[in-house]
Every structure is written in C-alpha cells, then in structure tokens.
Amino acid sequence: MKLHSLTAHQILDLYKSKQASSEEVLKDVLSRIGAVDSRVRAYVRLSNQKSAGEGSAAIPIAIKDNMCTQGEEITCSSKILKGFHPPYDAGVIERIKQNGGRILGFANMDEFAFGSSTENSCYGPTYNPWDLTCVPGGSSGGSAASVAADEAVWALGSDTGGSIRQPASFCGVVGLKPTYGRVSRYGLIAFASSLDQIGPLTKDVTDCALLMNIIAGYDDRDSTSVNVPVPDYTKALINDVHGIKIGVPKEAFAEGLDSQVSQAVEAAIEQLKKLGAVVKEVSLPHTPYAVATYYIVATAEASSNLARFDGVRYGLRQLSANVRKTPVIDMYEETRAKGLGDEAKRRIMLGTYVLSSGYYDAYYLRGQKVRTLIKQDLDGAFKDCDVILTPTAPTTAFKVGEKASDPLSMYLSDVYTIPANLAGVPSISVPCGFSKEGLPIGLQLMGKAFDEEMLLRVCFSYEQNTPWHTKKPNL
C-alpha cells in the first residue's frame, strides 16, 4: 500500500483501525520525497523534527518557508534570511504541533512570496509535478507541488494575491485562502499585512476542512485576528447544492482567458447546475482594476515590511568594500543589494515610490479607494448569491522561464484571485479538469466573510460528482 498517495482522512481512518502507524506513514512519505524531490524540488529544507507525531492529526505536513518555526532555519527563499533561526513558533505552527502534526520540511516559494511561479527563489525553481518543464505556480509553489507529488499529505501556504489558489490550480490540488483574520498571521513573515492569510493545500476538500479545523482560530498576538467561534468545518461537507446561488461575473470571461480553461470552467458551471445550484450572472465592474490596485497596496506594505531586513539584528550582513555614505548606511545598502532578488527589489522600489512624498495621493491613496470599490462590488454581489465562481487563473501552468523577463504579464496571472484578498473574503480553488496537454485546471469560488463552510460545501458536492481529484501525475 502506498501510504504517501493517500489523503489525510484516509490515513486517519487507517490510524483508527490500526492498519497503519504514524511512523509508517512518515517513513513512506519521506521515501517518496527521496524518490521524486530531486526532480520536483518542492522542498528547500527538511525539518529537524525527530518524532513522527502522534494523536489524531499526526499527518506529515509541508510548511511554506515563511512560517517561523523554532529550531529551524526559515528564509522566505531569500538570501537575506539565510541562517535565520527564529526563536519562536508561528501561531499556526503551534497549532500544528499541538495537534501532533509532523513537519516534513519547508517548501520553496517565490522570495518573500513575490511571484506567481516559484521561480523567484534563491534556491532555484520548483517544477510542476504534471509537467516538469512547467512552473507549479506561486508563490506557494513548493507547498502545492509537494501535495500534488505525494511528497506531503497536506501543506500550508500563504496567499496575498492568489499565492495558495493559483499554484493549487496549476498543480491540481485544493487550496483555500481563508477570510482575513480567520487564521493567525503571528509568525508568518509578512509580505502585505492587510492581504496575507495562511491556508491549506490538500488533496481533496475533506482534507481542506480537516486542516482548517486545526489552523483556524483567534490569536491574541495578532491584532487583526478575529475572535469569532470556529465551526467544525467537516460538518460543512454536505453533498448537496440544491438552491445554492452561484454568481458568475460577466467580467470573468474576458480577453486573456485561455479557451481550454474557459471550457473547463463552463463545464463545471453546467455540472453544478445539474446538481441543483442556481447560477446567475453578476457584475463586478471594478475587478478589471484589481491587479493595478493590488500592486500599489501590496508593494507599499511590502516596502515597509521588508525594511527590517537591514543586516543589523539577524540574517545576512554584507559590508561595503567602498565608502559611499557612512559605514552603517553602506552596510544597509550593500546587504539589501546583495540579499534581495530582482523581483523583491522591483516591488520594494514600487512600494517606496507609491508612498513617497508627492505620489502618495496619486497612487497609494487612490489604490486604497479603488480597494473600497472592489470590496463594495463583492459585497453587492453577495447580496444576491452565496458564492461567486470564476476560473482560478487565466491559463494552465506556463513554462519555466516563459514569463521571467516580463514581470507585468506574470502579475496578470493573478487577475482572478486578487479581488478576494482586497476584500478579505474566503476563496478556494478546486480542480475542474485538464488541458489537452494534461495540465490541471482550477475553479475558484469566493464566499462571504467567515463563510468558508459554504465554499467547502459547494466544492465537496462538486468533487463528489467529478473525478478530477483522483488523478495523479506520473513521476
């Protein structure tokens, strides 16, 4: 029996019936990593954790390399954090450990989550398990690829503009970005504080609910954490969508959308109708501005969040060979020049620019106002429907290197996922088919704030009536 190919809920059933132990599962998953990770490169580092974990949630998990874990090196796939060993656990890591979870290792990502392909990593790219010449998406590409390649039973990623959902879509797994405030950000190395949210990447919707049960909840160390009761998400796994109102924005099927993706998503809509859902057209008129808004708001916050990487207290310190300004300023400028990659530099520069004197009103303030409009669009749509359905990404996974020299076209791959971050609402991506090249296609649902249950229910029903989640890549 190939334990590594099972879902978490299947493994838990084996634990319960004593047909497998956590040691056996761990061993099998580790051997799978040994067999395929040299090709997939999902992990940047295996963990130092010795035990196999125990208890009902002793499930081997991959963690994105941006969640602080005591006793481990955590780098955000950046040279500037090489050697950084955080002396504390992130809120989610505490929860994983408390539940007996076994951290397998830390998954590759775009440096500081800046990217949609996992190519912007100081460790080099991760490859898509379905086609090793393609990217796995990003920035949680390592997490998504590890799950798709059976190198982890499930994984945690973080999503600022689609960084869980887009790689889930590219890798044919389930990825959920919870409501902003649902999962603690304490210990998540910030990209854009008002948009970041940690969420699960899993092999199916049931596992997504199970992992949400572990990670969701209030944390008083995070001022933006919301103190509302956490439901048992497995109760939302109901195979019935009768009467559920699904909004489809007319803006979603615009130019730039790949025809194969469009067909798969339209087929999924038909399937959901057949299952009893009510599908109606909605309009989100400001979503075409979402990418521009996002690149202002997110980079502004990032430029400030990343100011702490200055070579003073931790991480890389690079002294300057030439005296340009003063010794300490030269050190800052050299450390940051050497330690940060090109995309990180671009985003820090853009964020600094939009906040700088004379440009704040024209860019940053404007971005925040358009954010209000986008949020209002979604609020309005949710008056008439329970979920909003779109493709997750406009294309399937693209080739490694294809967009590396064109940052702007890379940004546009987040066009569908960004609105949920700007509005703070939950959003999920589930597999809905394959291209003729054999690459997975993802379907995105957005829900009302704190109504992850509705997303899980619709996706569970869809999954129960479609075969996509059972397919595995050939590795």
Binding site: R221, S304, Y314, L355
Partner: protein, 479 residues
C-alpha cells in the same frame, strides 16, 4: 540699520509612560537593565511578529490629553513612520500621523505680568527606539534594544512661544502637570522626558514664519533655554550679515555651549507615513473619557489658587507647596489637624524642605506624619520648646521616627520658664558682661538681645527667650 526680531519657538516633548510593559509587547518596561535583556521577538522586530497595543498606555495618553485641555479623538489609528536607523528594529516607528489621541489643547504659563496660553497642537502615542553606544576605539556602534517599544507620548506645541524664557517656563509648567498625573517619572536624566525645539526668527510685524532649525540633544530644561538663546543669536547674526538660515537639525553641545549640525545629512526626510496594517483602529468613547477624567488629580494651577483662597497663603508659599504634589497633600493633611495653615506652610517650606534636600528624600520617604508635624508646631507655638530647639526635634524625629513629645522628653528639651531656675543663668551672664550691661543702662535696650542669646546658649537652648529677656531687663533696672 538696526532691525528688531521676534522669536518663534515650538517644542516637542517626548514622555515615556510608566506602564508595566512596553507599548506593543509584554516585555517589562524598566530603566537600567543589562543591555538586551528586556527584549522579545516583537520588540526586536523579528520577522513575522506583530504588535498589540497596551491598554494602559492608551489610558495614560488619554489622561495626558485631558490634563492638557485637549480634545480626545473618538477614533484613532497608528501609522508607520519609515526610516532606517540601527536603533529602530523594524525600519519604521509605529506612531500616529493624522488621528492622534489628543489635539487642540493648551497650557497656561505665568509670565512676568500675566498668564499666557500656549497651544498644544497634538499629543500622540508612539514607540521609543533603542539606544546606541558609540565605540570609537572599536570603530563600531553597539545597540541595546531594551528601550525599544517603551510607550511614549509626544506633546507638540503650536509655535506660540516667543522667547527661550517662555520655553523654559512652559517646560516647567508642563512637567509639573505631567508629574501630577503619575503616568511617568518625568526624569530627564533617565531620558523619561526629552525635549526637541524648533526655532525661527522674523522681523517684528511680519506674519510669515522665518526658516526654522530643529534643536536636539538638550538634556535639561536649562540646556533647552541656553541652546535656544544661542540659536536665536546665531539666526540674528546670520540674517543681519545678509545670510540665510538653512532648515536643518542641530545638536546642542552642552560642554561647548553651541549647536552643531548633524553630520549624517544622508537621512532623507521622506517618512512615507501610512496606516499600520498590523494594528486596527481604536475607538475612544465618552464613557472611557469620563472615567479617565474622573481619575484626574487636581492639577497644580487649580491647587495653587485653592491654597491661596482656602488657606490664606501667599502666592509664593502656595507655589512652593504645589511644586511637590506629595508635599501639597501632606500640607492639607496637616491642616485637618491644625487651623494655623500659614505656620504649617512655613514649616514645610522651611525646615522640612531643608531636611528633604539634605536627605535627598521625598516627603513620603521621611519618617514624618502630618499628626507628628502638627504636634511639633504646636509645641513650638505653645512655648514647650523654642523655635530653635523645634528644628532639633524635627531632625531627631526624622532620624528615629518618634513623636515630638518623645523626642522632647528624651533630650530634655522642655523649655525652662521657671524664674528661679533662670535667675542663676541671668546673674552669671550679667557678671560676665559688664560693658554690655552699661550700654543698656545708658539707654540702649537693644543690646539686651546679646545677653539673651548668651543666656540661651548657656541653657542649652532650653530657656524660654521671652522670659529671659524680661528677667535680664528687670535685673539691670533694679541694680
């Protein structure tokens, strides 16, 4: 050509709030610990950590705002002020930009003739930075982050101050108010209270402000005054010699008694303020404001006026009492036991204050209760001990904590008024000082004072001086 100038000064006071913990984390907020021992992932700005506001810091800030007659904003938020400095762990300081805790207040200061209103533009909460030690020999700097995250309230005046003296008076008035609030130890030596100044001059009659310079690094109110005087002088010289003032930050050098331009002009002042996404906004409703207002103490100016009116004190006496809130409270306790308020004020502002200064103690640290002080004053007033002996009694009371009655008894200081006991001393003094006796006889009775003094000494201070004087005069005129 002579030209008259007007000085325009605005002050920024940073006050550390004496909360138990730092503003955004649970590290203890104390001064004087070994370097980098009161630090945690949050105040070290380690990646992934997040700030959570200390409720007490917010309440203290509201208290300061109310005491400065300011409006409390019902909705406040925190912003990031972005700049790089090694003592600033996150590369930004969490501060408040457009929605501070308090705005539009004022402080009344006393000038030569009357009172003047100094506008308070705003008072906002922010986090303090760490401390740098420059190791010139090691050609490096050392950073201690213990102070990082200490809650600060920054109190900014309008440019209402018109002279270094007014700035000095404002600072003293402000400090007294802040001390009364009990939200900070207000100790400049420890850096709990710090002051930066903005100064410019303009020809009298001109409404537009001149170019200002910012003064930093003044470690006492005296230094603020001297620094400003120096800078005003410099501005005048530059302008009168046809030059222009450059807007810049200057460091006051107390030893050289001059201002020095900062060498690191690298620092671009583009702070890119924006709302901190890691903190949520805060609402301050009227209930909270009323609650804090109810806890406000009687402020020094009000207390001073009441002391004058209620106790019939001079402005001077009342002023000295209110400068120390604990003394003022002590005074009122004494007055509950004794109606001679002026006498109490004299004792407190005289003998007791002298002992406090000598012993370097606050009144609450002295072994003195209002009941005991009143008993001592009564003993002097009733002639049980002399005024001089009374001061001895006070010293002994403070040393031992005993009541005045015990001390008087222990030391045998009860005043001697008995004629027969005193006559022997009088006889002896008269025999020893024939010249003085002769002067008195020839119509110079004031010389009797000398004899009384001699006799007092002889009695070990125990004799009743009035009685002695009577006996001496009587003895000489009978001779």
């Amino acid at each position: 050509m002579s030209q008259e100038f007007e000085t325009v000064i605005g002050l920024e006071v940073h006050l550390q709030l004496s909360t138990k913990t730092k503003i955004f984390c649970g590290c203890v907020n104390v001064f004087g610990s070994a370097p980098n021992t009161n630090v945690c992932p949050v105040c070290l700005g380690l990646p992934g950590t997040l700030p959570v506001l200390n409720q007490q810091a917010l309440l203290y800030a509201i208290k300061v705002g109310l005491a400065l007659n300011a409006q409390i904003n019902p909705f406040i938020k925190f912003d990031r002020k972005n700049y790089y400095y090694p003592d600033l762990p996150k590369g930004y300081q969490i501060s408040q930009y457009d929605l501070p805790v308090a705005k539009d207040g004022f402080v009344m200061i006393k000038t030569d003739k009357n009172e003047k209103r100094i506008g308070i533009k705003r008072a906002h909460l922010e986090e303090d930075a760490g401390k740098l030690v420059h190791d010139d020999r090691g050609n490096c700097s050392l950073v201690d982050y213990n102070r990082t995250g200490t809650p600060l309230i920054e109190i900014v005046t309008e440019p209402d101050l018109r002279s270094p003296q007014e700035a000095y008076d404002y600072l003293n008035t402000l400090k007294l108010i802040l001390q009364y609030l009990n939200v900070s130890d207000c100790d400049m030596e420890k850096g709990s209270l710090r002051c930066d100044a903005n100064v410019s001059i303009r020809p009298i009659g001109q409404t537009a402000l001149g170019t200002k310079t910012e003064l930093k690094n003044m470690n006492s109110f005296r230094a603020v005054k001297t620094g400003l005087e120096y800078e005003v002088c410099r501005h005048k010289q530059v302008i009168l010699s046809g030059g222009r003032i450059i807007q810049e930050t200057l460091l006051w050098n107390d030893e050289k008694a001059m201002t020095i331009a900062m060498r690191s002009k690298e620092q671009a002042h583009d702070y890119r303020y924006f709302s901190d996404p890691d903190l949520v906004p805060f609402t301050i409703n009227y209930k909270v404001i009323d609650q804090v207002r109810a806890e406000l103490p009687e402020l020094p100016q009000i207390k001073l006026e009441r002391f004058i009116k209620q106790y019939g004190l001079s402005e001077y006496d009342a002023g000295v009492l209110v400068i120390d809130q604990a003394v003022a409270v002590f005074f009122e306790h004494c007055c509950q036991h004794y109606e001679q308020s002026k006498k109490v004020a004299n004792w407190l502002n005289g003998a007791v204050l002298k002992e406090m200064n000598e012993r370097k103690m606050g009144i609450s640290e002295l072994k003195l209760t209002p009941v005991n002080l009143v008993a001592l004053i009564k003993a002097v007033e009733n002639g049980v001990v002399s005024n001089l002996a009374g001061k001895e009694v006070l010293k002994a009371m403070l040393d031992s904590g005993k009541t005045p009655a015990q001390v008087i008894q222990d030391k045998g200081l009860v005043q001697v008024s008995d004629d027969s006991a005193l006559m022997a001393i009088v006889e002896e003094i008269i025999n020893q000082n024939p010249t003085v006796v002769e002067q008195i006889k020839q119509g110079k009775p004031s010389a009797a004072g000398f004899l009384v003094g001699q006799a007092m000494k002889k009695s070990g201070g125990k004799a009743n001086p009035k009685k002695l004087s009577e006996l001496i005069i009587r003895r000489i005129s009978n001779a």
